[in-house]
């Protein structure tokens, strides 16, 4: 009897714990709604938040895979930039078909990710920090090179169908197409991570690469796949970026890497690998976008936004640490009964 009760109690607490990031999101939502009556809580503004979150959601999904394997991908920001710049450069060269522009952007980013993975696993560089940090600079350099360090305007140049992904909205309330794509991609990621062999192998390689190898899992191939997928996600983000800002600027993307890492960590991923979920990442990305949006509406400048986002990251990790401690204690109490 007492046992069943105890179980129920920890069950409820467990659910509350897991919903921690979601609760933070709701709380933040409520605060902004109350502080700025009629400004924050408008359909148009909320759709704006979703639009702003889309790029980070895409990059964050790839970053999540890297973090699960106890790795990191620092090249994501400029990989996304490169995909966007390539669209601009090809447009200048006379290419207008979305069936060439989009695949080209995805291809170059995916290739950069593949190189990241290959450097890590075949050259046996000590940590993905090294290969992806190098790649970050290379990709930035390539972007500057192909655009001659100038911004290329994309609006009204005959490639609007390519930009639609990042600029168009649907229905009367203006749901951004980009966020719809995010939901589709996230559903695919959910199935991928939980219901496919490769998905589970990513968690296993992250938990113990040597045990995975000795169990016949080709850890190197799994890692290469992870960084390649991260690259692909940057490519998709690059296409969305092109549509959203309607220009190809080689100097955007500098903060995308930290934003993506922050989204994953807020959502429950850990630098030591082996954990994290795609829905947590979604909540993390939405939380960051909402804070940015809310602070903007309040008239806060960029600098304040950075300070707040930084504090949120530290706070969320602290909460995560506390959460694990409370869980351990709950188990102890259960054992004592």
């Amino acid at each position: 009897m007492t046992n069943a009760q105890g179980k129920k109690k920890t069950g409820l607490r467990d659910i509350l714990m897991k919903l921690g990031p979601a609760l933070a999101l709701i709380l933040m939502f409520a605060v902004f709604t109350i502080v700025m009556p009629g400004k924050f809580l408008r359909v148009g503004n909320l759709m704006n938040v979703l639009k702003q979150a889309s790029i980070n959601c895409m990059i964050g999904a790839g970053m999540l895979l890297c973090l699960i394997t106890a790795g990191i991908d620092l090249s994501v920001g400029y990989n996304c930039t490169l995909a966007c710049c390539l669209i601009g450069v090809l447009m200048n060269a006379g290419v207008t078909s979305p069936f060439i522009l989009i695949p080209a952007a995805l291809l170059i980013s995916t290739f950069a990710g593949f190189v990241n993975g290959t450097l890590l696993t075949r050259l046996e560089l000590p940590h993905p920090f090294v290969s992806t940090l190098g790649m970050k600079n290379i990709l930035w350099g390539v972007s500057l090179l192909i655009t001659s360090s100038t911004s290329i305007g994309l609006y009204n140049k005959g490639i609007d169908s390519t930009l639609a992904l990042g600029s168009e909205t649907l229905f009367s309330f203006g749901l951004p197409v980009s966020f719809l794509v995010v939901l589709v991609v996230y559903a695919i990621f959910h199935v991928f991570l939980n219901h496919t062999a490769l998905g589970r192998q990513i968690y296993c390689v992250g938990g113990n690469a040597e045990a995975a190898r000795l169990s016949g899992i080709r850890s190197k191939n799994v890692l290469t796949a992870v960084y390649t997928i991260s690259g692909l996600m940057c490519g998709i983000a690059g296409v969305i970026l092109a549509g959203r800002v309607a220009s190809a600027n080689p100097n955007t993307g500098g903060t995308y890497d930290t934003d993506a890492i922050a989204a994953c960590i807020i959502g429950g991923a850990s630098f030591s690998g082996g954990k994290g979920t795609i829905w947590g990442t979604l909540i993390g990305a939405l939380l960051i976008a909402m804070i940015r949006n809310g602070l903007n509406l309040m008239g806060a400048s960029n600098d304040v936004q950075y300070i707040v986002i930084g504090a949120v990251i530290i706070l969320s990790v602290t909460i995560d640490v506390l959460r694990s401690k409370i869980e351990a204690k709950a188990r102890k109490m259960a054992a004592a009964e």
Partner: protein, 501 residues
């Protein structure tokens, strides 16, 4: 003044899922050498950690020289005069002896700078009391042998004016001579009036050294008595809580065809021309000293390390194994010696670990067949009697024996024909050991081939149908069970490089 230097009264300590100490009591007299034994998981380590202030017990009392103490951290226990020399030494190998002895409590001059002169003096004095004045206090600890490093740890305890020194498995990594040295030192400490709590798995050491002995089982006190009143059998019975009629339930299978034949395996500096055969329906024991190349041979066969040359045949067909995946495809399973580092993904659930090596059998295209995986895991957990709340429990939460059974389940799931078990019973308790032997028996009965690398001579002798003896990356002998050489002396002789007639 109390009769006891340290007394623990009715102490209880709980952990998630287990009660590590149940109403445990122990009394240690000043200047006595007190043995503490019990199976793995009996609660010895927890007891030590309670005594040294690492764990704070929920219930019970601790007395030092009759005075009630509440240790909140290790510093307080140390100040009360309780020191511990752990199995894993707390030595910083890069630092000199003197710094290791005074770690965390360096002496200072009035100016605030370190007073090395006095520290060296006191360090030398402490070492001299142990009969080791020859150790230079300036030398880096890492340059000393393990035995001497241990002496430095003991000197640290002595210089702290410890009343009780706990020694946790102090002989496990020592050579024979070093063990004798240690025993001499322990007796010296006793003469100085320091009490020793000597935790060991080796009964012969207990009989040689200790005056009294305490036996623990399942976190509880079983008995405390003078060693003189004890026999080996009595102690074992107290430890396991039942009479063990048969520690090794050997079952004989019928010898089948040659499942594995390796010829002239070579790996530079490690393996020099290793050849042997292993048959279905048999256990091939692999004996040898540490560093004989046994694990290396098995890793090479399994594709975990690259070979320079050599031929491997499975059931008469030559195979080319470049990575573990290839070996698994050829029907070879390899239970590694280091289960936490190489066998399991501790952060993942039991069911995920169960299919770690056999995902290809549980796939439908790229998708996993969840229902089948759950069914399989439930079945394995039941058949192997794995103690886990559910199959979704994270493996890190299980005990060593149960973790080992998860690894075994993982390999049985690959439906292999050749099972290489590297030290399969290391670090698990007697009950779990017997269950592991029974798994091997089952495999042999099914006509599978089992290769068991083991450093436990009784295990080798009891369970093997044939024994392969290795030394220095070479095969020294292959001995059949019905050969007159199938005995401990001859196997050890071969392992030490002697020849058998």
């Amino acid at each position: 003044m109390s009769e006891y230097v340290v007394e623990l009264k009715n102490v209880t300590k709980r952990f998630p899922g287990v009660i590590a100490l149940k109403n445990m009591s122990i009394q240690i007299r000043p200047g006595e050498i007190h043995g503490l034994i019990g199976e793995n998981g009996a609660g010895k380590s927890t007891l030590i950690k309670v005594l040294t202030g690492v764990y704070i017990p929920e219930e019970g009392e601790i007395y030092v020289s009759g005075e009630r103490k509440h240790f909140r951290n290790p510093v307080q226990a140390r100040a009360a005069g309780i020191a511990c020399v752990y199995q894993e030494l707390n030595i910083v190998p890069q630092l000199p002896v003197v710094d290791n002895i005074f770690i965390g409590r360096a002496l200072k001059k009035p100016s605030g700078l370190l007073d090395y002169k006095t520290m060296h003096e006191q360090a030398r004095k402490a070492l001299a009391e142990l009969g080791h004045e020859e150790i230079d206090t300036h030398i880096q600890c890492g340059k000393l042998g393990i035995g001497l490093q241990q002496m430095v740890e003991i000197a640290k305890a002595v210089s702290l004016d410890a009343k009780l020194i706990i020694m946790d498995e102090p002989t496990s990594s020592l050579g024979k001579q070093e063990v004798e040295q240690l025993m001499k030192t322990v007796r010296r400490l006793k003469e100085k009036g320091i009490a020793i709590l000597f935790v060991s798995h080796k009964l012969e050491e207990l009989f040689e050294l200790c005056e009294r002995v305490t036996v623990m089982r399942d976190g509880a006190h079983i008995l405390t008595d003078d060693v003189a009143n004890m026999t080996r059998d009595k102690l074992i019975q107290a430890m396991v809580g039942r009479t063990l009629d048969n520690l090794f339930p050997k079952v004989f299978g019928t010898k089948g065809e040659c499942f594995l034949k390796v010829e002239h395996l070579k790996e530079a500096g490690v393996l020099h021309d290793v050849s042997f055969e292993a048959y279905g329906g048999q256990i091939l024991g692999v004996a040898g000293l540490v560093g004989a190349g046994r694990t290396e041979t098995m890793r090479a066969i399994f594709g975990a390390d690259p070979l320079d040359s050599g031929k491997i045949c499975v059931k008469g067909r030559e195979v080319h194994i470049r990575q573990p995946k290839d070996a698994i495809r050829e029907g070879i399973a390899f239970l590694t010696e280091d289960r936490k580092g190489q066998g399991l993904v501790l952060s993942q659930a039991v069911q995920t670990n169960m299919i770690l090596a056999s995902m290809r059998l549980f796939k439908n295209g790229p998708f996993l067949k969840h229902r089948q995986i759950r069914g399989n895991s439930e079945e394995r957990v039941h058949a192997l009697r794995i103690k886990t709340p559910t199959i979704d429990e994270v493996v890190a939460q299980l005990s060593g024996g149960n973790q080992q059974k998860v690894v075994i389940g993982k390999w049985i799931n690959t439906e292999a024909d050749i099972y290489i078990f590297d030290e399969p019973t290391r670090g698990i308790d007697v009950g779990a050991k017997i269950e592991v032997y029974n798994v091997m028996n089952d495999l042999v009965r099914q006509g599978k081939c089992v290769i068991m690398v083991s450093s436990e001579m009784p295990e080798i002798l009891a369970m093997s149908d044939r024994v392969l003896v290795m030394r220095g990356g070479r095969v020294m002998a292959v001995i059949d069970r019905d050969s007159p050489h199938f005995n401990q002396e001859d196997i050890m002789k071969a392992a030490w490089g002697g020849s058998l007639q």
